[in-house]
Subunit: 221 residues, 2 copies
Amino acid sequence: MENPVHPDSIIEALSIDCVIFGFKDGRLDILLVKHAEGISAGKWALPGGWITYGESVDDAAKRLLKSLTGISDIYLEQLKAFGDPNRYPLKRVVTVAYYALVNEESYSLIPGFTASDAQWFNVHEVPELIYDHNQILEFGYNHLKHKVRHEPIGFNLLPAKFTLLQLQELYEAILETRLDKSNFRRKLGKMKLLINCKEKQKDVSHRAAALFKFDKRIYVP
Amino acid sequence: MENPVHPDSIIEALSIDCVIFGFKDGRLDILLVKHAEGISAGKWALPGGWITYGESVDDAAKRLLKSLTGISDIYLEQLKAFGDPNRYPLKRVVTVAYYALVNEESYSLIPGFTASDAQWFNVHEVPELIYDHNQILEFGYNHLKHKVRHEPIGFNLLPAKFTLLQLQELYEAILETRLDKSNFRRKLGKMKLLINCKEKQKDVSHRAAALFKFDKRIYVP
DNA sequence: TTTACTTATAGTCAGAATGACCATATATTA
DNA sequence: TAATATATGGTCATTCTGACTATAAGTAAA
């Protein structure tokens, strides 16, 4: 018996939703799209879509992220499947949530087919979202907070070359706390995760800081 | 538009598989069932089954675990959705994997409807399993190893009252390493997770150890 | 009944990590 | 030149960690 379904047709009971974090000016942001059509038209939502029969769930997440934002080759990780029977109206849909961390400055947002708008929102000023997307976002944010405490992540949120203060501000934004500058830089120094670019910051009205880059040999997600 | 599908009919594209760890005599075990029917008859597999339209994915996992093992009210957590397009033969099925830690002694295994056998296997002596179940098991085991390093879990694997050495042997089995007895007990003492039952071990041919129980007020999974 | 053996339980000590501060350096701007 | 911002480096007491030692309390064998 062959699978009688065309590879490009969608699995009606399964969708993908992406929790995409960005970082800019010391603020942690989240990427949302405004639906252009259907029952949720005019409402904000996590970028997502349908899985087809021909692709893996991971590939579907990558495809959808790329088609909605132009972003590819990034740290994309499965979060959790959300499967409450009433989470989606009209029919039963289980969604697999993914999350990604991207550098906001590196990409310009291009709303996809079914979206009339795509925009970054401060993670603390998120509007009401469709279905259970606020819950998914909450789960993703907690996951990020938990993860950042145990392993070195978040470098994708910064430009390729960054100062230690920028990195610290990122951690402060994620963890919603203040960190001691001296202790933070000592800890990062010992981790040997960063490579000094031997360059200085430019166009700042104070002493210029050294620029660092992430040593990709050390930690591959 | 109402959902035209009966709540008890299954979502054909979505299944559940459970990675259930047990512990006995210092060995970490995994629960497997032997399929009685279908294309995988006679082969070992993770206990699993189909999600229906009427229940949440979490509820489906609980129901299946209970129906396959008699176990309920335990630490049951979603692991990951496995969604390779070719992971399941004949048709496209995405599976949501769960994992659970149970005390082997507390339950007697009763093979369910579609299983001819259910048995504990040493986690290091697992036979070839159907589909991608070996991969799922591998993922679950790594997840457990990672998790046990960062938060206090695994108490469900032990009897209600246990000695510190039993707990240490559990950690050693999970992490595949030897731990220093003195340091281990010092660390656990500081965590204030355990309550001394004021009882002693019985029927051992050496000095009896104090029995402890897990303080459920401290850490609720 | 003494001795050997097994596990329980407690303590020591040096090195690493942590958190709260302090001090100085290097840049810009008033 | 002074005021200011941030960068960068260091101190110090406390806690955590890993390796190791010592003693206690039982059973079992000689």
